[in-house]
């Protein structure tokens, strides 16, 4: 009966070829899967028994349950009634989990998940530095992606405005182009836009989910998760695979998002948004925190504005994309190439020639609807429509509900800093 369940995992194939199997790691994975055993309880057990393997061995031993339940009792010397981190019920759960350790580990392996414990060198060093870091991370994808040189979290409301989505995408895209990793929460709205834009810019992104890996939420983002993994990123969770995401797990997840990152950027958060919890965590963990301001009458930005007001000294404002990259200490590749891109925009336009060139210039100048394009160029509607398709085919124009924006070489700079091209 010695070491029940734990030796079984040693004989099984290792979860990742490049990392040697570890009994200690497996033991931690099993302990994390015990419902009700949180970071405090696990810390107390580890303090008493020294290692995860020892805890499992103790649980499997005769009268193991009673022994476990005594954890933390002897520590109190002040005469007060000791508060027991391990209740008898929890002790029974631990013993029961020890009994099915094989199945727990097989499940993790079947899902293709890696396990990283806080004691291992692969554990992201930024997260290890926060107070009470998660003991275990379940990782789908590249473990190395968790600990790059520069990491920025981009988060926000699940119900953004159209503009909010675009801002999130621009910020994430620029951060990715500057070579930093983008962390977010794989939620609908701003999070999803940040992940997508990072992938589109060819960057690496890490998603921290609020439930277990087998309970991915929202379901519609399963494909996005696959792409994140396929492109060298990772999807991680501190919860065992079959844990449901609940209202309580998301704030915990937010603490991991900010903890993984050098800085957190909040794009659009209405009052009492979960993104503000991430921002608070960032400040508490001594990280930088940036908020995109909005109109004072726009409820989508109300949370950002009130957070800026309440954390005047610490929270910082995003006054523009180049300024944000500057504050983050990232090289503004776009600004560095602004002059070049302006030249390339001009070259692209001249290359187009004819009506497409005239429409292209009008788009760069900020004219968005067909009505405006017809008015400013004086061309017939049919010609304008045909030219837009031509531009769209080359990726130089994008259409969203009847409003057109310049794309590709024509969209290299910020609006307001339009490339120096001749007016149409």
């Amino acid at each position: 009966m010695i070491g029940v369940g734990v030796p079984g995992s040693v004989s099984a194939p290792a979860p990742a070829a490049h990392r040697p199997a570890s009994m200690e790691r497996d033991a931690w994975a099993v302990l994390t899967s015990v419902r009700g055993l949180g970071p405090v309880g696990l810390a107390a057990l580890l303090e008493r028994y020294g290692s995860g393997v020892a805890i499992l061995a103790a649980a499997a031993a005769p009268r193991g349950v009673d022994r476990l339940a005594e954890t933390g009792r002897e520590a109190r010397q002040d005469g007060l009634r000791p508060r027991r981190p391990i209740s008898p019920t929890l002790a029974r759960s631990i013993a029961e989990a020890t009994g099915r350790a094989d199945r727990i580990l097989a499940r993790i392996r079947a899902l293709g998940l890696d396990v990283v414990t806080v004691e291992e060198p692969e554990y992201p060093h930024r997260l290890a530095a926060v107070e009470l870091p998660p003991h275990v991370l379940f990782v789908r994808g590249e473990i190395g992606a968790l600990d790059p040189a520069r990491v920025v979290a981009v988060v926000g409301t699940r119900r953004p405005t159209f503009t909010g989505r675009r801002i999130a995408a621009r910020i994430a895209g620029s951060i990715a182009k500057a070579g930093a990793t983008v962390v977010s929460g794989l939620a609908a709205g701003i999070d999803g836009a940040a992940h997508e834009a990072t992938l589109q810019a060819g960057g690496t992104t890490v998603a921290v989910i609020g439930g277990g890996h087998a309970r991915l939420y929202p379901k519609g983002h399963e494909r996005l998760a696959e792409q994140i993994v396929a492109r060298g990123g990772a999807v991680i969770s501190e919860l065992p695979p079959d844990d449901e995401p609940t209202i309580g797990t998301f704030p915990r997840r937010n603490r991991v998002i900010s903890g993984l990152s050098d800085a957190t950027v909040v794009v659009e958060a209405p009052a009492r948004s979960g993104a503000l919890i991430t921002a608070s965590w960032a400040l508490e963990q001594g990280r930088e925190c940036f908020l995109v301001p909005g109109s004072i009458v726009d409820p989508a930005s109300a949370g950002c504005l009130s957070f800026l007001r309440e954390n005047g000294g610490a929270a910082r404002i995003v006054s523009g994309l180049p300024e944000l990259l500057d504050d983050l200490g990232l090289v503004d590749h776009e600004a560095a190439t602004a002059i070049a891109s302006s030249a390339s925009a001009e070259a692209t336009l001249v290359d187009l020639g004819g009506t497409a060139e005239r429409i292209g210039r009008a788009l760069v100048a900020g004219y968005a609807t067909v009505d405006e394009l017809v008015a400013v160029t004086g061309l017939p509607v049919a010609t304008v429509l045909a030219a837009l398709t031509l531009l769209e085919g080359r990726g130089l124009a994008h259409d969203a509900y009847g409003r057109y924006r310049p794309g590709g070489a024509l969209a290299m700079t910020e609006p307001g800093r339009a490339p120096q091209v001749q007016r149409p």
């Binding site: 675009r166 398709t389 969203a400 509900y401």
Partner: protein, 534 residues
């Protein structure tokens, strides 16, 4: 004594000749109607009794049996009232007919007035086809009945007038007018072979507009050039059209200008539309309806009201919009089964209705025009009002319009909100008359081609033949369909629209410019991928 009077009822869109037999026999006083009569017809007993008494005749206190032949046919409505009353007067010998047989059609009031009923036109046509060319009709429906040529009509306002007429010896022949138009395509089910014609002098008149009494002029719509262009292309080629835009962008206003943009119906189409309007009870009609119908049912419409059916096999909105436009405002709000029911009519131009023991086919060659918001809150993509709809909710909203239905809409037009300044200034927009002339010329060009169909109904080889693509244009089609990962159907849609654009410009072959413009009107499902990325 037994009397037999010919009359007619309405069955679907067709008139049916009914022989009303009345037996007034000795026995306990009673009044029975046999021959599959519906509730309205059973109540004819009370109307007939009242009308006879109040016109100064005697309702005989005897055993009255009314038989409606043919017996197996279900009869509905009040069009037989007048015939039953006259039958009773004949059977009780209060009236002796002086001259040959008259057919009688009309509803009676308790006071004895003869009222118009729905479907006078098809009923009179059915009688005439059977050789019953002397017909008593309600005075208020005389104009509608006189659309059928070669019949001797006797309009009457009361039961008393009808009795006087039947007693009189003088003929009241209605002058025969020439030339004539054949009443064809009406009453498909077992109608007689006799030809019925419509008096030509009625053809010029425009009947009452079926719905939408006030048609706004296109010059009242400012801006929205993309949508105006899309509308013109759709009407010129008979394509399905959908407007997508936030509330207040002018979708409904633009759709409401459609009746003023369509050329008047030709003779055959006008006659078919008039028959449908008559059968649907839009009458009494003053003449042939020349204006294409424009139907805009509310989105709470039931399946039966859209397709047709009910106890009387009444035509639904798809049939009422035959040769015209069916406008569905707030498309995703319509019931799923209601939207799915549009697939057959859109494909075949007709709708088959089968009910226990009865089946019929109604024409439904309508052009579909739809309007919808881009998302449930309506403001996706607009700058002023922020849209808070999660992507999944937007997807669910647009998915309510199923793929097969989306495939049958050739043109999708985005309508951004027009800023207030554009509503005041800017160039003066074209008015309806100018656009109507272009639509008409373009339609004539299409109908002049071999096959003679509007581009909206072209598919397969006929479509490819009509497009006459050169090498460059063929390459462009491939490029455009790859760009958007179009299905075969998507490519056909592109070609159809491009063909109409070329026809509007008067070009014989479809070129790359036409194709480029046509690609702007592809459905939003194909655009969203690019729209949402940054």
């Amino acid at each position: 004594m037994l009397a037999a009077v010919p009359s007619a009822t309405l069955h679907g869109l067709a008139g049916r000749v009914i022989r009303v037999e009345v037996d007034v026999a000795p026995g306990l006083p009673g009044f029975t109607i046999v021959g599959l009569a519906d509730a309205a017809l059973q109540e004819a007993r009370e109307r007939v009794r009242g009308a006879i008494r109040n016109e100064g005749f005697v309702h005989p206190p005897r055993r009255i049996t009314v038989n409606l032949a043919p017996a197996e046919l279900r009869k509905a409505g009040a069009s037989l009232d007048l015939a039953i009353a006259i039958g009773i007067l004949l059977g009780s010998e209060q009236l002796r007919p002086a001259r040959g047989r008259w057919a009688l059609v009309g509803e009676l009031s308790l006071g004895g007035e003869v009222r118009a009923v729905p479907g006078i036109l098809p009923m009179v046509a059915a009688l005439a086809r059977r050789g019953l060319r002397r017909i008593v009709v309600p005075a208020t429906a005389a104009a509608e009945a006189s659309l059928v040529d070669g019949v001797e009509l006797a309009p009457v306002a009361t039961l008393g007038e009808a009795v006087l007429l039947l007693r009189s010896r003088r003929s009241r022949r209605v002058a025969v007018m020439a030339p004539r138009v054949e009443l064809s395509g009406e009453g498909g089910e077992g109608a007689g072979t006799g030809h019925v014609t419509v008096a030509a002098d009625r053809l010029g008149s425009v009947g009452p507009s079926v719905t939408c009494a006030i048609v706004p002029d296109l010059s009242e719509v400012r801006g929205q050039l993309e949508a105006r262009r899309g509308l013109e292309i759709a009407l010129a080629g008979g394509h399905g059209l959908a407007f997508v835009g936030p509330p207040g962008s002018g979708k409904t206003l633009l759709a409401r200008t459609i009746p003023g943009l369509l050329p008047p119906l030709d003779d055959d189409a006008a006659l078919e539309v008039t028959v449908v309007a008559s059968a649907a009870g839009e009458g009494p009609l003053a003449g042939l309806i020349r204006r294409p119908p424009f139907r805009s049912p509310h989105h709470t419409i039931s399946y039966a009201a859209m397709v047709g059916g009910g106890p009387r096999l009444s035509p639904g909105e798809v049939t009422l919009a035959d040769h015209g436009v069916l406008f569905l405002d707030e498309l995703p709000e319509f019931g799923r089964d209601v939207l799915e029911s549009l697939r057959q009519p859109l494909e075949e131009g007709s709708v088959a209705i089968a009910r226990a023991g009865r089946a019929t086919t109604f024409p439904a060659r309508f052009q579909l025009v739809a309007a919808m918001n881009p998302c449930p809150c309506g403001y996706a993509g607009s700058d002023g009002n922020a849209c808070h709809c999660p992507a999944s909710v937007v997807a669910r909203y647009t998915d309510r319009v199923s793929g097969p239905l989306r495939d049958r809409i050739d043109l999708w037009v985005s309508m951004p909100r027009v800023p207030g300044t554009a509503l005041i200034g800017g160039p003066e927009p074209e008015d309806s008359a100018v656009v109507r002339m272009r639509v008409r010329a373009t339609r004539d060009r299409q109908l002049g081609r071999p096959g003679g169909r509007l581009n909206g109904r072209l598919t397969g080889r006929a479509l490819r033949g009509a497009c006459r693509l050169d090498r460059a244009a063929e390459r462009r089609v491939v490029q455009l369909s790859e760009l958007e990962r179009m299905s075969g159907r998507g490519t056909e849609r592109l070609l159809r629209v491009a063909r109409t654009i070329a026809d509007l410009a008067g070009d014989a072959a479809v070129g790359t410019g036409h194709l480029d413009e046509a690609a702007r009107f592809r459905p939003p499902s194909l655009r969203l991928a690019t729209a949402m990325a940054i």
